[in-house]
């Protein structure tokens, strides 16, 4: 009912009314279509296909990446600062995980070459939380000897050559070569009596060794030098992986890598493992805290 004081609106012609009806239907279909496509992003998330190894500091609770996907602004600044280019961004088949950083450890693991957790510092939203200061604080996942029979150490074998073949593109920091510049794994041959690559290259284990060396040096320099105190977990408080002898009863010397409570799940062991496919892998649904260490 229109107020009598107002001029009556033009009567709508049947043709115009039909046009309006079509426009309304078309618009509704458009709105529904776009909204549905955007909600398709749920599918990979619900199916768990979008769950991946995330950079250090990713706010997630085991398999629940909800908060992490929400907080990430999908800008890739973490990608840009990573010195070993370990971080990649999710594609649209990750659904809501599109543009979200992840690590494919077998291709290129995070070896903490940057020491200072550059990705964490670069993150503008705190999706990579600033609450961790040192690699040992990270909880990315947890390593597991998935195929013990394939493990060279378990077989009592050594390893000679380049770890992943000459064509492997991954890079790693070798402190003994250059602490500041990672080099291709393919340019660093080994000759080991018994394969211990996963332990030898573990960034946590390397840091523990460095700390011990530093302590040793300081002791030699006398009591004053010892004053230089370390902060937080600058030196990892726990071992991440150790090589332990196993008794096979056949007289052969066999060893087994044992993942310890200090493992942060960086994935270097998975990357460096010379057998195909890797005998040791990183599980993303576990971490040192959840394991009860």
């Amino acid at each position: 009912m229109s107020a009598p004081s107002k001029p009556r609106k033009h009567p709508v012609s049947p043709k115009r009314r039909e046009q309006n009806r079509r426009e309304f239907l078309r618009t509704s279909a458009f709105a529904l279509g776009i909204a549905s496509v955007s909600l398709l992003g749920f599918v990979p998330v619900v199916e768990g296909r979008s769950a991946r190894l995330r950079p250090p500091g990713a706010i997630k609770k085991r398999l629940d990446e909800h908060e992490f996907l929400a907080a990430c602004i999908k800008c890739g600044q973490c990608v840009q600062v990573c010195p070993v280019e370990a971080i990649k961004l999710g594609d649209i088949d990750d659904g809501f995980g599109v543009g979200v950083p992840f690590i494919e450890p077998r291709e290129q693991a995070c070896d903490f070459s940057c020491d200072g957790l550059q990705c964490v510092l670069a993150c503008p939203t705190g999706a990579l939380t600033h609450h961790l200061d040192f690699p040992a604080d990270a909880r990315m996942g947890f390593a597991r000897l998935a195929r013990p029979k394939a493990c060279l150490a378990v077989q009592g074998k050594g390893f000679k050559g380049v770890a992943r073949g000459p064509g492997f593109k991954g890079i790693l920091r070798y402190s003994e070569v250059d602490r500041w510049n990672p080099i291709p794994v393919a340019e660093h041959p080994y000759d080991l009596e018994i394969c211990d690559l996963c332990v030898r290259q573990c960034p946590i284990e390397q840091r523990i060794i460095q700390c011990a060396e530093e302590d040793e040096k300081r002791k030699k320099q006398g009591p004053q030098a010892l004053v230089a105190k370390r902060i937080g977990h600058e030196c990892p408080p726990k071992h991440a992986i150790t090589l332990e002898p196993i008794d096979s009863g056949d007289g052969k010397r066999r060893m087994m890598p044992v993942v310890q409570d200090g493992c942060v799940g960086c994935g270097v062991c998975e990357m460096i493992c010379p057998v195909e496919s890797a005998a040791i892998v990183v599980d993303i649904d576990k971490d040192a805290d959840s394991i009860g260490g």
Binding site: F30, H66, A70, I73, K74, C75, Q77, V81, T125, G126
Partner: protein, 325 residues
């Protein structure tokens, strides 16, 4: 009834039709202008005006705009690939020589989904808000957004196909864009995921340029095909919530396109090239409230109308700084 610039802008941003003046609302001077032009312009006159208007760089603003858009997006690419660290990140969030910048709509999505106020985002959005407040709001769309450029190219194809009568343009109700803006805000809040970012062509294209192409480009291709064969500039016109967000910023921006009715022939070249032609309804004979009137905030300040107008009735202005160019 004449509404203030802000109210009228908001109405048009959210899909309402432009307000038309009644005869009593128009000043005598404007009525005279309209009156003096009645039936004056013959086809030959119009032709003459067009020829006179043809300058060597008739699309001056388009060239400048494309150059700017490509330059800004290249800055991101170059900064990453040559490690210049000038502009790190993507269009969703970045550091420009160390200063945080965050896309307003992406920041809104993250804040609604994450339900935390992140200090860096507050800093980043404030910087970006002030920047676009100074530069015109939806200026972001036409001068920065990479999807805008590819959609502009697709638009030429669409217009050519329409001219050849191979395809027909289908319009949607413009109110749907405001509804999208609400839907995506609500979805982010309700689901706790940044739902819109999954399909945002701005984010997808920006990341594809910087970090390399991926499957997500299929979605971009689909959108472009939809625009070429079904509906002209459909994403920017009827869907993109980023445009609404920046449109709101533009409400208070001093950078606007100004219309002057004095020399206008009202033959609508400007409306034919415009991404958001409703903002140019004011150029229709009898539709202006005043001799001079600012184009509302939904305008992307792309300058297509400034380029095309044969009588320079549409010009850029910076409110409070007088006319420039």
């Amino acid at each position: 009834m004449r509404r203030s610039y802000i109210v009228e802008s908001l109405r048009q941003l959210f899909g309402w039709k432009p307000t038309r003046p009644t005869k009593d609302e128009q000043p005598e001077r404007l009525k005279q202008i309209y009156q003096s032009k009645r039936g004056k312009l013959s086809k030959a006159d119009l032709e003459a005006a067009h020829i006179e208007h043809k300058r060597p760089f008739g699309n001056k603003w388009q060239i400048r705009r494309w150059a700017t858009l490509i330059f800004i997006n290249l800055l991101f690419v170059i900064s990453y690939h040559f490690d210049v660290q000038l502009v790190e990140g993507a269009l969703t969030a970045s550091r420009v020589v160390g200063f945080h910048m965050a896309d307003l709509n992406s920041a809104l999505q993250v804040t609604l989904a994450y339900k935390h106020v992140v200090l860096n985002l507050v800093i980043g959005t404030t910087t970006v808000f002030v920047l676009w407040l100074l530069l015109g709001g939806r200026t972001f769309c036409s001068w920065v957004c990479p999807y805008h450029l590819v959609a502009e190219w697709a638009e030429y194809l669409h217009l050519w196909l329409v001219k050849k009568k191979i395809v027909k343009n289908h319009v949607f109700n413009r109110k749907v864009r405001g509804i999208f803006w609400l839907i995506f805000g609500l979805l982010a809040f309700a689901t706790g995921y940044t739902v819109f970012e999954t399909i945002s062509p701005t984010g997808i294209l920006s990341r594809a340029l910087i970090y390399g192409p991926g499957l997500a480009l299929i979605w971009i291709g689909f959108l472009l095909l939809f625009e070429i064969f079904y509906s002209r500039r459909a994403w920017c016109r009827y869907a993109c919530p980023i445009g609404v967000t920046y449109g709101v910023v533009g409400l208070l921006s001093p950078v606007r396109v100004k219309y002057n009715a004095e020399a206008c022939h009202h033959e609508g070249d400007c409306r034919k090239v415009c991404l958001v032609p409703h903002v140019l309804d004011v150029t229709i004979r009898g539709a202006a409230f005043d001799v001079e009137q600012d184009i509302v905030a939904d305008c992307t300040r792309c300058g297509m109308c400034v380029d095309v107008c044969p009588t320079s009735s549409l010009t850029y202005e910076i409110k409070g700084l007088g006319k420039f160019l």
